[in-house]
Subunit: 347 residues, 2 copies
């Protein structure tokens, strides 16, 4: 009998609603001999307002003991000026990505039959972005001088190491090897020459270990063009933290919207718990109304299952989503969609 | 009688072909009492191969004396490993943008009737991106240590000053004021907190001077979603150098392709010559075959005319392009399109 010790961080806005449905599907998918223990961590805006803390060291230590984390969304309502910009994003979401060394930020884009896309024609979309998760302009390096004066200067430093780039590039090659064997590096090496040189050189070196994988390079600006005009050309994309952030929102948009896009913040060696979350945010405007689509959370459960070795169960969840999307009944509530998905998975 | 002292930098690949057609339209558009003097500067890959120089100080000084620069495109063929990555981009294009303080990088996106878009439906697209052109991650700050070893670290520094941000934000507000009165700031202030704080604060301060302009903020990742699902929501966008690079390629793609996207590298106070160029690159694969579409170069001539105060002539060029695109005859060569446009403008 296997046991999964899962942490839940439902978070703010629609986070708790969609996580509840993700969990429903997870329970439906797991084999009967698997035991699921869950611990809920009430983090987010309300917790911060009540305690003044975003994430303290004890909670971080407690989270470390879990096998995985199912995350909802964090973020205050746009008008809520009591919450400083970036407080929850940096203090919770990014803090966990960094603390648990989630260097592979995995974001699949697949256009399921029946799902509307903003693109004309009927593009075939089935690729995955491997976004670096622990370096680049996300490290928080930088600063500001003479803030608020006409002489203010603010800097942001992108940090890229051979260690960090090589491991994520190798992970991407492995994924390409087990898919359609095509890997595209996305960067901007003609302008960001130092980081670009490191990424490009590393990419070429690791490529030598994977002779079956066809490789390709695109500047990030050109990548946004191909993502709209020819998304079918992509199989696996590997890119840095910021470029990955940008192109995966675009990728989600063309593949039917961020309402159904899932992501995994993965520590491949399982030294630390990996964390699975929808790409969408906390959507405070529709929170508490049962209007949120839990599909992204359910698809992130599929990524969680695969990460923990439940491959067949992951496929079952994805197939349930595909079947549900193909005959989508309009007007269902969050829990109705979750129930329908869980029922399909359990079948 | 007015006199325009124009520098031409045709550059590489299809650059010379499209610049020739841009020039044809410029001549057709100018009033008969305007005198056009042109000086061609043969810069680019071939010049570098022949001389070892990308752009020397004398040439830079000579360029400074012009009223404006009409630029084609630079960049080596992908297989040409003799040309180091970024050599022409940094050494010529970016060098000119920085030397001539082109802090307003103006990139209009307009979907002309008759032009195919990758988007479904019939979106109305008519907005302009004001991209900062002299700061951000484009300054070349950064470096690398222990290059080629497993301990390599490469950094890129984004530099943002109150001076630089304020002037471009104010320029964008002015443009919004004379258009549909809506300005969207695009940044990523929840992650890039130092630069983000500066951009956001400056934006709010300058907004107070333009009470008629409605303002809006989007994270760059979310902006890519709206550019594909609802591009009609935008009027003017202001953003930093790198985000602007990325979203303007996407904007060009949804508005009919980079084949027809124009840009102005503008020094608004005319202290230095502004430079006008297509958004597309040198496209070495189709160079010399008369296959390139010169429309982007012609539209950049419209931006040039407007910058030099020839507003009516700029409108005539844009109307000629609109009329030509509406009844586009397939299979025409570069010069046939240029002739057709010049004929319409001259009428
Ligand atoms: C909320 C934010 C910090 C985050 C990011 O930039 O990574 C989000 O946009 C994402 O893509 O997961
Ligand atoms: C060629 C390159 C340096 C340039 C840029 O990044 O600005 C180009 O992509 C552009 O958008 O004009």
């Amino acid at each position: 009998m296997s046991r999964i010790n899962l942490a839940l961080i439902p978070g703010d806005g629609i986070g708790p609603e969609v996580v509840a449905e993700g969990l429903k599907t997870l329970r439906a998918a797991l084999p009967s001999d698997a035991k699921l223990d869950t611990t809920e961590y009430p983090l987010g805006v309300d917790h911060w307002k009540a305690t003044g803390e975003v994430l303290n060291d004890d909670t971080l230590e407690a989270l470390r003991a879990h096998d995985a984390i199912l995350f909802g969304a964090v973020g205050a309502a746009p008008g809520d000026t009591a919450v400083p910009s970036g407080l929850l994003e940096r203090g919770l979401l990014l803090k966990l990505r960094f603390a648990f060394d989630h260097h592979v930020n995995l974001r699949p884009s697949r256009l399921y039959p029946g799902v509307p896309t903003p693109l004309a024609g009927e593009p075939e979309i089935d690729f995955v972005v491997v976004r670096e998760g622990t370096e680049g302009p996300y490290t928080g390096n930088g600063g500001a001088l003479r803030v608020g004066t006409p002489h203010e200067i603010a800097t942001e430093v992108s940090v890229n190491t051979a260690y960090g780039v090589e491991r994520v590039v190798r992970d991407a090659f492995r994924r390409a090897q087990s898919r359609r064997k095509k890997l595209t590096l996305v960067h901007k090496h003609n302008v960001l020459v130092y980081a670009g040189h490191l990424w490009r050189r590393t990419f070429e070196q690791v490529a030598a270990e994977f002779p079956e994988v066809a490789t390709d390079y695109l500047h990030v600006d050109a990548a946004t063009i191909f993502l709209t005009t020819d998304p079918g050309r992509f199989d696996v994309i590997v890119t840095d933290n910021l470029f990955g952030d940008i192109i995966t929102d675009l990728a989600a948009a063309v593949a039917g919207g961020i309402g159904i896009a899932a992501s995994g913040n993965i520590n491949p060696d399982r030294e630390f718990p990996s964390m699975f979350e929808p790409v969408h945010g906390s959507a405070p405007d529709i929170a508490g109304q049962g209007k949120a689509d839990p599909t992204a959370s359910v698809l992130s459960v599929a990524l969680l299952l695969r990460h923990l070795g439940y491959d067949a169960e992951a496929v079952r969840v994805e197939e349930a989503v595909a079947a549900d999307l193909a005959e989508r009944v309009p007007g269902r509530s969050t829990s109705e969609i979750g129930d329908a998905l869980a029922a399909r998975v359990a079948r």
